[in-house]
């Protein structure tokens, strides 16, 4: 399966970025092949509104079935939920560590947004 991780960096050595909607990049990791690709999300950085929704849409379009990030607001959560994507919030540190923990099954999906909109 594919897992999306928010980051300001370009590879799995970078840290998980706490932002979701206005994050610079999305790292899409494939658990079967161990490969990843970077999706540039800078178009949503300066969005006047709906950044979370649009970023959620990109995650859905990437084919990811889970998302690892720091925080997620209500509109983004609703969009991700509608797309059937597991949302894991509150994750910090290196992406590679987060992915290891995800594959071990020690990261639990959130039941809802963990911050308000425009957080």
């Amino acid at each position: 399966m594919k897992v999306a991780v928010t980051t300001a960096g370009n590879d799995a050595n970078a840290d998980v970025d706490p932002r979701f909607g206005r994050v610079k990049n999305l790292l899409i990791f494939d658990t079967e092949t161990g490969e990843h690709e970077i999706l540039d999300n800078s178009a949503n950085l300066g969005a006047t509104q709906g950044a979370g929704i649009q970023t959620a849409k990109r995650v859905a379009e990437s084919g990811a079935e889970a998302l690892i990030t720091g925080h997620c607001g209500p509109n983004a959560f609703r969009t991700l939920e509608a797309a059937g994507i597991q949302v894991i919030t509150g994750v910090e540190g290196r992406i590679s560590d987060a992915l290891t923990r995800f594959q071990e099954g020690s990261l639990k999906p959130a039941n809802g947004a963990d911050v308000q909109g425009h957080w």
């Binding site: 509104q49 849409k57 859905a60 509608a82």
Partner: protein, 317 residues
């Protein structure tokens, strides 16, 4: 003649000027308080509210039986108010600007528009003065549709309901009737009390005016925001003049600027403690301090004179 009263900076005296200009006018005028995030002109006028309508914006509603999840609606929406994944669209009505694009592009006619109330319009009068203001609901982000509703009202209460079919109003309380006819002559001037700043609500409020009065205080802060306001009215190609409030404080920066930019200074309201007192009691200056009536009446006359010249020049062209 439509005159908008604006300023870059908040708290410079827009409402004070609008209210006193309206009260010093020799004939009937219309005052539209377009600062819909915090309307306050009514407090100084003691207007009797005669009618009220909800103002809404059209937002999409999806008939899921007809929807084929083609995604066209989500592609055209610039505001992420409708998002089409592989499933049926998800709606975020709070983000919708009411453009109607999704309804147009839907190939199966699955989208219809329903009104979502975002504020209200109230109107009333005090003697010959016709008054209306808008009130944006708390938590709503889009003031322009409510401002448009206030400006569209721009007619005596008796005919305010006439355009309802075409307008996104929801009437909840019909205009009071039987308490006097609207003035026979239509008001000679419509004064628009604009919100502060230079963003969309201000543009919506001043748009279509014949003249813009920019109220400022003679301080570096006042000048900084006056420059922004002047840029805005010039971009809209509207003629403007400056009114200096609290004249006597600060420095001469505003005067130097107006001189250099060839912007007329049309009135100076002195920094008078009694004016502040009247304001704090919710009283109009021209009523609490009648000696001020003349300067507001003079500004009114100057605006009418300007309009007459502009009109004549236009006719000659």
């Amino acid at each position: 003649m439509q005159v908008a009263i604006a300023s870059g900076k908040g708290g410079t005296g827009k409402t004070t000027l609008a209210v006193n200009l309206a009260l010093a006018a020799p004939g009937p005028v219309r005052l539209l308080d377009c600062d819909v995030e915090e309307p306050n002109a009514h407090l100084f006028l003691g207007v009797r509210i005669e009618g009220r309508e909800l103002v809404g914006i059209p937002v999409p509603e999806v008939n899921e039986e007809r929807c084929t999840a083609c995604g066209a609606c989500g592609e055209i929406c610039q505001y992420s108010a409708i998002v089409a994944l592989k499933t049926k669209p998800i709606l975020f009505p709070q983000l919708c600007h009411g453009c109607g694009g999704c309804q147009r592009v839907c190939p199966t006619g699955a989208i219809r528009e329903v009104l979502r109330p975002i504020g209200e319009l109230e109107w009333g009068r005090r003697g010959e003065l016709l008054f209306a203001h808008g009130r944006l609901n708390v938590g709503e982000a889009m003031a322009p549709p409510v401002i448009r509703a206030v400006k569209r009202w721009g007619r005596p209460p008796a005919s305010a309901g006439a355009g309802l079919a075409k307008t996104p109003f929801i009437q909840v309380q019909p205009a009071a009737t039987g308490d006097g006819d609207p003035p026979a002559e239509s008001p000679a001037m419509t004064l628009i009390d604009a919100p502060p700043g230079t963003s969309c609500p201000v543009i919506e409020a001043v748009r279509g005016s014949d003249f813009v009065l920019l109220v400022t205080e003679p301080t570096p802060f006042g000048l900084h925001d006056l420059r922004l306001a002047v840029e805005l009215v010039r971009r809209l190609d509207l003629p403007c003049g400056v009114v200096i409030n609290r004249d006597g404080i600060g420095d001469d920066g505003v005067e130097q600027y107006c001189l250099a930019e060839e912007i007329p200074i049309l009135q100076r309201i002195p920094d008078d403690r009694r004016v502040a007192h009247a304001y704090s009691r919710g009283e109009a200056i021209v009523e609490a301090l009648p000696e001020y009536r003349e300067q507001f009446a003079a500004l009114y006359a100057a605006l009418k004179e300007y309009d007459r010249h502009a009109h004549t020049a236009h006719t000659r062209d």
